[in-house]
Amino acid sequence: MAIEDDVLVIGGGLAGATAALAAADAAPDARVRLVTYKQSTLRHASGLIDILGYAPGAPEEGPLVDPFDALEDLPQGHPYERVGSEAVREALAFFDETVGDAYAGDHTDANALVPTHGGTVKPTARYPVAAADGLASDDRDALLVGFETLPDFEAPLAAAHLEAAGAPFSARGVTVPFPGIVRDDAKVTRYAHLLDHDESVATGAGETGAREALATTISERLEGESRVGFPAILGDERADAVRADLADALGVDVFEVPMGPPSLPGMRLEDLLYGALEERGVRVTSGVPVIDFETAEADAVAADGGSGDDRIDRVVVDRNGTEVPHRADQYVLATGGLVGKGVRSERERVFEPIFDCHVPHAEDRYDWFVDDAFGDHPFARFGLAPDRDLRPLDARDDPEFANLRAAGAVLGGYDFAAEKSGAGVSLATGYVAGTRAAEEGE
């Protein structure tokens, strides 16, 4: 017999988790389930929550101070335009409430400029508290610390780059050995684990805790700076305590610079979201792909070619080779974009692999890209085109299924990388799709 739910969310990234949380919030009695396959792309992501950093089509205008100002002018079909700017604010407020004091930035509508591990700055709406003391608009001088064994962050270069970007403070970088790291290619999670557990490490002065050893290494290099930035490896489960201990020992504020994958800030956000899902009683089934689906009236689908009245009756997930049907009243598709494989391609076509929803794209794959690596790439906009209720539309602009909504990067019509809007779109569309799914299911 099929597993029965009111709302079934497919995909466990920021959009899927938000959709499931929003559904549980909108209809507290509803049975909400989230099924995920692979690790979410959150571990690739910086952990910053961007709403809109640059106006689409006008990058020369520089970073937007107020992202909400620009929401009204977005082109038709942009996910923000689909859900409306009020929903974006609601979704962000919902996020703020969900993550509590783990994130900062809600005291103002203005974007923050956060230093990145490449040494530039990027506009974002919310940032982990771990990054809060690193803001580039803060004019306190900063010392950046890199580690000899961590080639992703060259602190002296990042400091020089921040100055080239015009940051209103003096930045200096030093590179030091990380106490307790003996392997030259230890994973970033190893650094975090050492600090989380304050493991005993050998130093010139004998055995001491990793936090103290690190602080001692840095204190010798401080030259009056009032804040110190590290690559984002300062603990995982006990990151707040690690940062507080370092700040105490150094007598200065301590912050993290967001990093590339695997990204601890991304993983910490994932943990926060999954904690919230558990609190709200959302059932989570992970490690299983959705491999097939059935509609309520399979014959009718074939006959009318998809009129928008078709309903998904059930999906089939593959659990270690066993096909398990899951039936729900409403479905949310949040499987990600090209990176998360919610949108896939072959030499001749671009497609959505579960429901085969329509993905608008040029026929010739040489029209999918432009010649400049950072140019205006059509592939960056690949994804489903939804109606204002976030139901994916077919080639004739009719909803593919009456009870399917889509959220996050599986949606098309926006270039999250150029706009710096990825997290915001996932939040806003996840929130709207989850809320509507729950309300309609009632």
Binding site: H44, A45, G53, G62, P63, A104, H107, A110, N111, A112, L113, T116, H117, G118, T120, V121, K122, P123, A132, D133, L135, S137, D139, E148, T149, L150, P151, D152, E154, P156, L157, A160, H161, E163, A164, A165, G166, A167, P168, P177, D184, M259, G260, L338, V339, K341, S345, R347, R365, Y366, W368, F369, D371, A373, F374, F416, A417, A418, K420, G422
Partner: protein, 556 residues
């Protein structure tokens, strides 16, 4: 008249670098100038096949014989650049039995070890061969790293006193009446190593003799001194797969045709190629059908190629030449032999010769012949030693593995490093400093990157060809930034940023022809990491308008 150098070699490909090494080893004073990086022209754009000669065993037996001789020499003197994969000439049911027999006889007549395998035996060697493959001829084809080999020649030339000047474009030949006595070069702007002159300046370099080894560009150089050199540049596409579907070289056993070879190369396999004459070696169309046609045709031999992940495609230009009056219509019919054009004999202009035609596998023999010619012109009596003296990195290669520890590296990383560095491994990898892996796909550590920077300066593409960093699955998405980090603090922030941008764009260029499936997914991830996480697409340091930081959130 005193000259700056005895011999001036134009062109930093395999031929030019081979000539520079040969002459420098004979004790001559040599200067080599190259427009871009070493290997930038044809050498860096080949499929990496070390010919056994089997390919020419029917059509061109002189070339075939020369190939097998040079093949054996390169295994000896350049072991760290060669992988002895072996090769198969594979016959499909529709391919001619007569040709198969001619190929086998040709190989044997030319001294190429050749053995016939049944279809079943061939599939035991290469399990992904098509089920209906009839039989195959096994020959000693190999894979060679053209970057590593070319750079090793240049390094050895330098060791013997040569000046190797990259990023120096010849803008004029210096001619006095009927005598060419040097060139004018422009030192290019850009992040590369500058040994003698600042970017944007020009320099006249005079020489007793000039050797034009610019391959497909030889005609353009000749035109600067009103010399007509009828090279016929012919383009060919190659597509790189992300894994090795085959571990031996797979050739299609038929007379000629596009898309008939798969070469396993390091972590990849390279599909090749097409053959189409072009007017300008710097400007020709790179067409989608060429890539698609190659995948489709080679899938007849190795069916899984149809579904496999490609990581990029690139086009090379052959420096084909045929003596005037031959009138061959089809570029595939033009001989792969090389020609030495003595312009004094041919055109009445002294002081210069041009080298045209030829192929990578026989670069050393070409260099020897040309060097003999130059020595004769200059009245120098010195003999060639390049067939016996190993290249840097290949000395004592047989005893290398036994006598060397792994430098504290994980074993796959150490193995790859040793393959690349050969006998230079100890010198490069023995360090007390932290030596983390910079490029995960290819297992390249900091020590190797820094060694390449020492050799080539801040040009990350020069670092790339020396180390293979950024040439794997992610095509630099994960490691470009880290490679650039290694330039600092030797090079300042602005130089590092420019170098990174240049490498990132170069890596993008070839990927454009592989943008579907897994590689499109990878491209989107790379774009997201560099644009979203690092904001490199809108880097405020590159923007004309300064940000007013005070307008933004400064913290609660």
């Amino acid at each position: 008249m005193a000259t700056d150098t005895e011999v001036l070699v134009l062109g930093g490909g395999s031929t030019g670098c081979g000539i520079a090494r040969d002459l420098a080893m004979r004790g001559l004073e040599v200067t080599l100038v190259e427009r871009g990086n070493l290997t930038d022209g044809t050498t860096g754009r080949m499929h990496g096949l070390l010919h056994s000669g089997g390919r020419y065993a029917v059509s061109d037996r002189a070339s075939a014989t020369e190939c097998i001789e040079e093949n054996e020499i390169l295994r000896e003197i350049a072991g760290h650049c060669v992988e002895e994969t072996g090769g198969l000439f594979v016959q499909r049911p529709e391919d001619s039995d007569d040709y198969f027999r001619e190929k086998l006889e040709g190989c044997r007549d030319c001294g190429i070890p050749a053995r016939v395998l049944s279809g079943r035996e061939a599939r035991e060697v290469e399990p992904y061969l098509a089920e209906d493959v009839k039989r195959a001829i096994e020959v000693p084809d190999g894979a060679v790293d053209p970057f590593r080999l070319c750079v090793a020649n240049a390094l050895d030339a330098e060791t013997h006193g040569a000046r190797i000047e990259t990023h120096a474009e010849v803008v004029d030949l210096l001619r006095d009446g009927d005598d060419v006595y040097g060139v004018e070069v422009r030192h290019e702007s850009g992040p590369g190593k500058r040994i003698h002159d600042a970017a944007g300046t020009t320099e006249e370099i005079t020489a007793e003799y000039v050797v034009n080894a610019t391959g497909a560009w030889a005609g353009q150089i000749g035109a600067m001194a009103d010399l007509e050199i009828e090279v016929r540049p012919s383009k060919g596409v190659m597509t790189i797969m992300n894994v090795r579907q085959v571990d031996t070289v797979i050739n299609r056993c038929r007379p000629k045709g596009d898309a008939d070879i798969v070469v396993p190369h390091e972590t990849t396999a390279i599909l090749g190629t097409t053959d189409e004459e072009v007017a300008d070696p710097d400007d020709f169309p790179e067409d989608q059908w060429e890539v698609d046609g190659m995948i489709d045709t080679l899938s007849e031999l190795v069916p899984i190629l149809e579904e496999a992940r490609t990581i990029r495609s690139f086009w090379g230009v052959r420096p084909l030449y045929e003596p005037p009056g031959t009138g061959t219509q089809d570029p595939t019919d033009i001989t792969r032999d090389f020609f030495l054009l003595d312009h004094a004999e041919r055109d009445g202009v002294s002081g210069i010769s041009s080298i045209v035609g030829g192929k990578f596998t026989t670069y050393r023999a070409m260099a020897e012949e040309i060097s003999d010619h130059v020595c004769e012109k200059l009245g120098v009596r010195a003999s060639c030693a390049t067939a016996e003296e190993p290249l840097p990195g290949s000395e004592d290669i047989a005893t290398l593995e036994a006598g060397m520890d792994d430098f504290g590296l994980r074993s796959p990383v150490a193995r790859r490093s040793k393959q690349r560095l050969g006998s230079r491994a100890s010198e490069v990898l023995e360090t007390d400093a932290a030596n983390p892996v910079i490029c995960q796909c290819e297992g390249v550590t900091r020590a190797e990157i820094r060694d390449a920077i020492d050799q080539s300066g801040s040009d990350l593409n020069a670092v790339r060809i020396r180390t293979r960093a950024s040439m794997g699955n992610c095509q630099g998405g994960f490691c470009c930034q880290n490679m650039a980090n290694e330039l600092h603090p030797e090079y300042d922030e602005a130089t590092v940023r420019a170098s990174l941008d240049e490498l990132f764009q170069e890596r993008w260029k070839g990927q454009r022809h592989a943008l579907w499936g897994e590689q499109l997914s990878q491209a989107m991830l790379n774009y997201a990491l560099h644009a979203t996480t690092m904001n490199r697409d809108r880097d405020p340091a590159n923007e004309p308008t300064a940000i007013d930081f005070a307008d933004f959130d400064g913290g609660a």
